[in-house]
């Protein structure tokens, strides 16, 4: 083969060399519409749907152009950020964090026992496991903002509804994640504890929990981060937190104060992310991605 290659590159004139290469690698020299015709059809269909979407949803160039002009002038009016009623914003931000913390924690505490019911290896029977899994799916399928609207009907406007909304959505997420962690737990430490004469309680405490705790804590920290973001928007529908202030500001067009509040959210989210990854680092002992 190397001899052939050699002759290909040196002995023949260019045109002949190309012909020989074409013959050797016929598939590579096929015109693209022959070799990738499926991909091309998919691409055309995708583009057709895209263009249909643009037209049916009213994404015309004129509207886009006008809107971008308006957006540009809005951005100019947002600058510089104005701290306005700083204390009120700070309190709303604290309320946001409080909602996120309580929602996450309450959901984790309730999901812990339920996770065992939804895990294949610790459940009571298959029906219970199936029902638990489907319940978690349903809880997760309903968006946090929808849960917030429902809880506002029950406990009224305010942060409490927000806590309960995060609780519902997180219960679905934790239920799923915890049960997966339980299923992934190794049996051997349990056997080890039992073989040294430990009780079944001891086998859970020293065999299972040490495997689950780091995973669950790190999932809780991730969820807390994500909930900080969610809690900052649920105020838009009236469930407490800084979102309420944001939606008021956009309605009254207090744009300078609004940009300050947005910056405040960004800074808070980054700080929370930073501390959560620190804590996760100290729990797991390595940087988790």
């Amino acid at each position: 083969m190397s001899a052939t290659d050699n002759s290909l590159t040196h002995a023949y004139p260019v045109a002949q060399r190309q012909d020989a290469l074409r013959a050797q690698h016929a598939a590579l020299f096929m015109p693209i519409y022959e070799s990738h015709w499926r991909a091309i059809i998919w691409f055309i269909l995708a583009m057709a749907l895209f263009i249909y979407g643009l037209m049916s949803l009213g994404l015309t160039f004129a509207r886009l152009y006008g809107g971008i002009g308006e957006l540009g002038s809005m951005v100019m009016r947002m600058l510089p950020p104005d701290p306005g009623r700083f204390n009120a914003y700070l309190y709303a931000m604290l309320e946001t964090l409080a909602i996120a913390l309580l929602g996450t924690l309450a959901a984790a505490i309730v999901a812990f026992p339920l996770g065992f019911l939804a895990a294949r290896n610790t459940t009571l029977n298959r029906l219970v496991q199936f029902m638990a899994r489907r319940s978690f799916d349903t809880l997760r399928g309903v968006d946090i903002l929808i849960w917030a609207l429902i809880w506002i009907n029950v406990v009224g406007l305010g942060p409490f509804a927000g806590v309960l909304a995060l609780f519902m959505a997180d219960l679905g997420i934790f239920g799923k994640l915890f049960s997966e962690a339980i299923e992934a737990a190794d049996d051997k430490p349990v056997e080890g504890v039992l073989s040294t004469g430990g009780t079944s309680l001891a086998s859970v405490r020293f065999g299972v929990l040490p495997q689950l705790m780091p995973v669950m804590l790190s999932q809780m920290l991730y969820q807390f981060e994500s909930n900080t973001r969610s809690a900052s928007i649920i105020g838009i529908v009236g469930a407490g937190g800084i979102g309420l202030i944001l939606s008021e500001q956009i309605r009254t067009l207090e744009l300078q104060q609004m940009s300050f509040v947005i910056l405040m959210i960004l800074v808070t989210v980054s700080v929370i992310d930073f501390f959560c990854s620190k804590i996760r680092f100290s729990i797991i002992g390595k940087r988790a991605h």
Partner: protein
């Protein structure tokens, strides 16, 4: 003191240290929780007084106005299915267009955010900060602002989804690009290829299937997002959902929720199949 005693003493010390840290951590957490409970106006009496209202709410949304269960008369339950299906279609289309716009923008930006493809560190830094900004601002906040600039309708919703997707996908795409095999890149550069040649012929073939898979994942997320963007007037089924919840049309609430959940599950199942196929293709090639 023999070595066993030394070991057990060291062990006891280590355990005591861990316990102290645990207790301290729990105390800090407890203080935070109590403070949070106060700030978030947690009220057990309100909760337990109204928990009945929650179960009655749930029971009301699964009953028709004549008191029958919704399952007894599906036609009556889904009385507005034509209108709702059209809205659901609009929601899906918003998610699709938003994802495609976002993925295209992310595709353009991700190479500029990858250290191994773009040598200019200033460009890399600036692109990364831009992507970070567009994924940290929640899409609801973008939607709120865009509704004012572009007026009500699906357009602000699509733009909000597109910008958020650009940020989220741009980061993921850049991570994929940073993990590619650099030999093809060296090959193209050594034959005198430009930056564009490098990206097109050395980088893109290695990352295309991963990119498509991430974009599909994002589409899933955007379908959920698009379903609630209507809460701020940014198009899709959310507007109608908000109306029926606020106006207490109980059976409609459950009908719309069932519709949204079913659609989301269907999309999840479909995209998962396509993603498996894509990633399988990559392994085979």
């Amino acid at each position: 003191m023999n070595s066993l005693d030394l070991h057990s003493a060291a062990y006891a010390q280590a355990v005591a240290l861990k316990r102290r840290q645990l207790v301290l951590g729990l105390l800090v957490l407890l203080v935070c929780v109590l403070l949070s409970g106060h700030i978030a106006e947690i009220s057990y009496s309100k909760f337990f007084d109204n928990i009945g209202a929650f179960s009655s709410y749930i029971s009301r949304i699964v009953h028709l106005e004549n008191g029958q269960s919704v399952l007894s008369d599906p036609a009556e339950w889904f009385w507005g299915w034509k209108k709702w299906l059209a809205l659901m279609g609009e929601t899906l289309l918003m998610a699709y267009v938003g994802t495609l716009l976002g993925a295209t923008a992310a595709l353009g930006l991700c190479f500029l955010a990858s250290k191994n493809v773009t040598a200019n560190t200033t460009v890399v830094f600036a692109t990364r900060r831009l992507l970070e900004f567009s994924r940290t601002v929640p899409e609801m906040v973008f939607a709120l602002i865009f509704v004012v600039a572009f007026s009500l309708g699906p357009l602000p919703g699509i733009l909000a989804l597109a910008i958020h997707s650009t940020g989220a996908l741009g980061k993921l795409f850049a991570e994929v690009v940073e993990n590619i095999d650099m030999k093809p890149v060296d090959g193209v550069v050594s034959t005198g290829g430009s930056w564009l040649h490098k990206v097109r012929f050395a980088v893109l073939p290695q990352v295309a299937s991963n990119f498509a898979s991430y974009a599909l994942l994002r589409f899933e997320i955007n379908v959920r997002g698009a379903a609630v963007l209507g809460f701020v007037g940014a198009g899709g089924i959310g507007q109608t959902l908000l109306e029926v919840i606020r106006k207490f049309y109980y059976a409609d609430v459950s009908a719309l929720l069932v519709m949204i959940i079913a659609t989301v599950m269907l999309i999840d199942a479909l995209t998962e199949r396509v993603r498996h196929k894509l990633l399988g293709q990559e392994r085979n090639s």
